[in-house]
């Protein structure tokens, strides 16, 4: 302590001396070369009583709500329009768990592939029931919190999650229970706004859009109940924007 006090007195003496001589020390345009031995290349981390990977998080989700809108594509859908749009609301129970509600509206109509089939084979797919609305209760397990830097001045935080959902898909004539699992990643451009990407595998019982001898334009129109049902799997890619509050 005494040494510290003496040192401080020395510092002030030096400062006064420098001031007396009116030393010009500044050069604001100076470029500082960071010594290479001081630059980060370590692969080990310091030891603390309790080693937490991050402190003072920029993105604090615990006890918060987030709402968002999203659009998506059913990547494996061969006949009907693949796009959809929806809303999502989540409550973050902790930094690891969140529960939410997803509502989505599928676009109507036939996809370009379906239209080709329709043209070549004169099959009228509009006779088949198609997915119209989706509602899911979604659970998110937030596995990794991290950050990315792509320019010298910009970085953003990311959260990688696994998702598990249970809900329903409403077809033209009937509602079917559905399950989904997937992976999601959020990229926070600000502490509140984030882009969200979801890759979801949805499994549900669904009508097969073919009924023998009733799909051509000249055939009699089938009842919806005539369409056979089977388990249907579809891979969905969703992109959205969300706001945390």
């Amino acid at each position: 302590m005494r040494a510290f006090a003496i040192y401080i007195k020395g510092v002030f003496a030096l400062l006064s001396f420098a001031l007396a001589l009116e030393v010009q020390t500044a050069n604001a345009a100076e470029v500082v070369e960071l010594p290479p031995e001081e630059l980060a290349r370590e692969s080990v981390t310091p030891i603390f009583d309790k080693n937490e990977s991050v402190k003072n998080r920029v993105i604090v989700t615990e006890g918060s709500w987030d709402v968002g809108v999203f659009g998506g594509l059913a990547m494996t859908e061969p006949i009907f329009n693949v796009s959809k749009a929806g809303l999502q609301v989540y409550y973050h129970v902790s930094e690891s768990h969140a529960f939410g509600l997803l509502l989505a509206k599928n676009s109507n109509g036939i996809s370009s592939n379906g239209q080709l089939l329709q043209k070549d084979q004169t099959i009228d797919f509009s006779r088949a029931p198609q997915a119209d609305l989706q509602a899911f209760l979604d659970y998110n397990l937030k596995m990794f919190y991290g950050k990315m830097s792509v320019t010298k001045w910009v970085n953003f935080n990311t959260i990688l999650m696994t998702t598990a959902s249970v809900g329903t898909i409403k077809y033209t004539h009937k509602m079917y229970p559905a399950f989904a699992v997937g992976l999601a990643n959020k990229f926070y451009v600000t502490p509140a706004w984030a882009f969200r990407f979801d890759l979801r595998l949805i499994a549900n019982n669904a009508p097969v859009p073919f009924v023998k001898q009733k799909m051509r334009e000249t055939d009699p129109v089938p009842e919806y109940s005539e369409f056979p049902e089977r388990m249907h799997y579809s891979t969905n890619l969703e992109f959205g924007i969300s706001y945390l509050f």
Partner: protein, 528 residues
């Protein structure tokens, strides 16, 4: 195998020697007693018979039974002549039962009895048990009585090391250096002795020799892992020796060699900042402070570092930053100072201080500060828990507690007189050690109070300089001499870092474990 047998033989040699001596003494006394042939002799003969049986039990390695019998016999006035022998053998039995503290009491009794035949042996054994226990009081007692020349050669390394420690503590650094130097290579005390020798050399103001000693320690541990504590302690001490030599650049480099994944790295980071400041590497020092003043260090008691940071800001005329740092110092250490003061004023009982240490140790172990009922801030308790004397005493207390639980768990032993005696001794030691730790903590708190008071005065002085600087700066601004707001590394592209395998992230207020120690201050200096 042969070596193992040899050591086993060495271990039981004192016991055999003692038993032979006791046997021959009993035979002599029997011969002397025979002509008397009185009724009183009958009682004495029965006791001697019991002693002989107890010794036989000892020979047969029935330690508990032997200890129990010997303890009873050690209290018989009829066996006054054999008391030193009985107590010595009892001590050996207790050592075998891993009741080192209780054994130590027997050896102390033997030394006090001043029986020439057993004093030297008892001192040797006392030194060994005291060393195992880490009991400084007993060690000093035994060392003060010991004669090195008659001490068994295989344990002399320990004695030289402990002697060195005692001399160092007494301020006899030359004597300490000589003692430490006599601990041979290959001894389990060698690394510690080399380290302590270097410290004594530093205390004797000979940093050149000390730095050579520490380098020798590092070389001796060359094959050990990077995070080997002896090796890292040697590296850190080497850096400190260079600092003492005022060789700032070499000290900075030496501090940088401390591995990040070792607990001593935190000390190295702080001390390196001092060296950087003394070496006029202000930007580097501020880089270190960014780590040291991150939330990862919120439980570290490092008030000096905040003042040091403010001085560096003063050097580069960053008065706003200075103000923030000084405010931070007052915000953190103001309440600390208040609570320490209040506790010292209201508490006199060492047990109250010990209770805080215990609670602090629990928080350190579990990481749960809530519901800890700590009356002193955890930052204070963590600092006290890191102090050498408190650490050593807590380790000793743990050994005594372990010894007590060994007795408690052994129902047969607990019900015997020697078991009851052991519990009494151990309870007493536990109580006294708790009081001693309480006293040590109080002494550290008193020092902390003085230190904080002193640092507050320094903070006032620094604030005064800050206001002066601000005044000067405003005066210059009025004269329109202010500087452009460029960053000093504006011209360096991020690709430079990425292409060379370094990492670069702009700081956004959050701290990542893998970034601690990698922060860089990129601000400009504002002096004109």
């Amino acid at each position: 195998m042969r070596k193992e047998k040899f050591f086993r033989l060495l271990k039981i040699l004192p016991l055999l020697f003692c038993l032979l001596t006791v046997d021959s003494a009993l035979a002599q006394q029997k011969r002397k007693a025979r002509p008397l042939g009185s009724g009183g002799g009958g009682n004495s003969a029965a006791l001697r018979q019991q002693l002989s049986q107890a010794l036989q039990l000892a020979k047969n390695s029935e330690f508990e039974s032997a200890a129990s019998a010997l303890f009873l016999l050690s209290r018989r006035p009829e066996l006054q002549g054999e008391r030193a022998q009985i107590k010595y053998v009892l001590g050996l039995m207790l050592m075998e039962m891993k009741l080192n503290q209780v054994a130590a009491f027997q050896f102390v009794d033997v030394i006090r009895l001043k029986d020439e035949r057993y004093t030297r042996l008892a001192i040797e054994k006392l030194s060994l048990v005291a060393d195992t226990l880490g009991d400084d009081t007993l060690l000093n007692y035994s060392i003060s009585k010991v004669d090195i020349n008659t001490f068994p050669a295989n344990n002399r390394d320990m004695l030289y090391f402990r002697l060195g420690e005692a001399k160092s503590k007494a301020g006899d650094f030359k004597g300490a250096i000589e003692s430490f130097a006599r601990v041979p290579l290959g001894s389990s005390y060698f690394n510690q002795a080399l380290f302590a020798k270097g410290l004594a050399e530093l205390e004797a103001n000979d940093p050149d020799t000390a730095s050579r000693t520490f380098r020798a320690l590092v070389s001796a541990r060359a094959r050990a892992p990077v995070t080997d504590t002896n090796k890292v302690a040697g590296q850190l001490a080497y850096a400190r020796a260079l600092y003492q030599k005022q060789d700032w650049d070499a000290a900075i480099e030496a501090y940088a060699n401390i591995p990040r994944d070792h607990v001593l790295w935190h000390d190295a980071l702080f001390e390196q900042s001092w060296a950087m400041m003394r070496g006029a590497r202000f930007r580097s020092a501020l880089s270190n402070f960014q780590s040291l003043h991150s939330t990862y260090y919120e439980d570290f008691y490092i008030p000096e570092s905040l003042l040091l940071r403010s001085i560096v800001y003063l050097y580069i005329c960053k008065y706003d930053e200075m103000n923030k740092v000084l405010t931070q110092f007052e915000k953190v250490y103001g309440p600390v100072s208040g609570k320490v003061n209040e506790f010292i004023k209201t508490q006199n009982d060492p047990q109250a201080y010990f209770a805080e240490v215990e609670k602090g140790a629990k928080v350190k172990r579990t990481g749960e500060k809530e519901n800890s009922n700590l009356r002193l801030p955890y930052i204070v308790m963590r600092f006290i828990l890191g102090k050498g004397d408190v650490k050593r005493s807590l380790a000793y207390l743990k050994r005594v507690n372990d010894e007590k639980s060994r007795v408690d768990k052994n129902g047969d032993l607990r019900s015997t007189t020697v078991g009851q005696y052991a519990l009494k001794v151990l309870n007493n030691r536990i109580k006294n050690t708790r009081v001693a730790i309480g006293d040590m903590s109080k002494a550290h708190l008193l020092n902390m109070r003085v230190e904080l008071r002193d640092l507050y005065e320094q903070a006032g002085l620094i604030r005064y300089e800050m206001i002066n600087g601000q005044k000067e700066s405003i005066r210059k601004k009025i004269s329109e001499k202010n500087l452009p707001e460029n960053q000093i590394d504006d011209k360096v592209d991020r690709r430079f870092y990425v292409n060379n395998g370094y990492e670069y992230y702009p700081f956004r207020g959050e701290y990542w474990l893998d970034e601690i120690g990698n922060f860089h201050y990129l601000g400009r200096q504002s002096c004109e």
